[in-house]
């Protein structure tokens, strides 16, 4: 009935009372903490907010999306099919093993298609027509030249040097207007119909810019700030993620392009190790070697 290998004395132990006491204690503690400390809820950043609060960053990012030089445009799987992109574990192109299951064409999806939904703007329609009619090499040249010049001008279109940009400045300017009016948020979400839950496109666009990261770093949420453990405001975060984020803080991971692949592979192995502790010689001997069990069972050892 009881512990198979125990033939010694027993004591009265009321499990149900213990459970009820535990439940009452946890409910009380939870309520007190919620009442006294509350919870964080910093509002999400819309594309509208981004384009309004950081117009230079938005404009610059939009130009790199059109030019195909943004982080998303050069990401590799699962967004783009570039075989040279993506992280590797030594020779193994692990990132590509997932396949391109979330295809994104940043020029089309983030810039051209949204702009083509705008009505009643003749110069925009004309600019789009000129852009679409140009051969790919010309489009790329315009977009890259403008992105470079805009970068030099700190993201301010008014300060961009003269150059051969074709209709690109007008396109980017109109995209910013669309974003500031709030239309871009909805357009990027609803490409495949009005009821959507996949926020990949707006979030990828947002994360390609510097504004989101700047806001995050101000709250110590950056990857090299042990950010995985942290929460906005003064709230405790996720202390249990300490080992996940730890590796990112030290070489060789902190300076590696393949840090994510190495860290996550390492953590999968260590997690397996945790599950298999009883089978790992050495590790499973540690408890016996420490004195903590003598504290836990001191009454038992005293009466032995």
């Amino acid at each position: 009935m009881d512990t198979p290998e125990w033939s010694g004395a027993y004591r009265r132990y009321d499990l149900v009372k213990e459970f009820v006491a535990a439940l009452v204690a946890m409910v009380l503690l939870t309520v007190v903490l919620a009442v006294v400390l509350g919870s964080p809820d910093r509002p999400a950043i819309s594309l509208r907010h981004w384009a309004t609060a950081a117009p230079a960053d938005f404009t610059l990012t939009a130009s790199t999306e059109l030019a195909g030089t943004s982080a998303t445009a050069t990401y590799g799987a699962p967004y783009t099919a570039d075989p040279s992109a993506g992280q590797r574990l030594g020779p193994l192109p692990v990132q590509r093993w997932g396949g391109v299951r979330e295809p994104v064409d940043t020029a089309k999806d983030f810039v051209l298609r949204p702009l083509s939904t705008v009505r009643g703007d003749r110069p925009l329609r004309a600019a789009l027509a000129v852009y679409r009619a140009a051969p790919p090499a010309r489009r790329r040249a315009w977009a890259t030249a403008y992105a470079t010049a805009l970068d030099k001008a700190g993201g301010d279109p008014a300060k961009v040097a003269r150059g051969g940009y074709g209709p690109v400045p007008l396109l980017i300017g109109r995209l910013q207007t669309l974003a500031r009016g709030g239309g871009l948020d909805g357009i990027l979400l609803t490409e495949h119909g009005p009821y959507q839950t996949d926020f990949a496109k707006p979030l990828l666009f947002l994360s390609d810019g510097g504004y989101l990261e700047q806001q995050a770093r101000a709250e110590h949420l950056g990857g090299d700030q042990w950010g995985m453990m942290n929460e906005t405001g003064s709230y405790p975060g996720q202390a249990w993620l300490w080992l996940y984020t730890f590796w990112y803080q030290i070489p060789p991971f902190s300076t590696s392009d393949n840090a994510d692949a190495w860290v996550w592979t390492l953590m999968m192995l260590l997690s397996l190790g945790l599950v298999l502790v009883p089978l790992i010689p050495g590790v499973r001997s540690i408890p016996r070697a420490t004195r903590i069990h003598r504290l836990i069972w001191r009454d038992h050892y005293r009466h032995q």
Binding site: L37, Q225, M229, E231, S234, Y235, G237, A239
Partner: protein, 44 residues
């Protein structure tokens, strides 16, 4: 509580006061659980 939190630095360790308190409390609670006397058996 919504203002950016207070952070401490120790070598390459960069930790929020809130997380440090949580971790310290865990260690304290663990130690107290090990040494605090447990109610004796009143059953017999």
């Amino acid at each position: 509580m919504d203002h950016p939190g207070y952070y401490l630095n120790w070598g390459f360790i960069h930790i929020s006061l809130a997380n440090l308190i949580v971790i310290a409390l865990m260690v304290v609670v663990f130690v107290v659980a090990l040494i605090a006397p447990f109610p004796k058996d009143r059953g017999r």
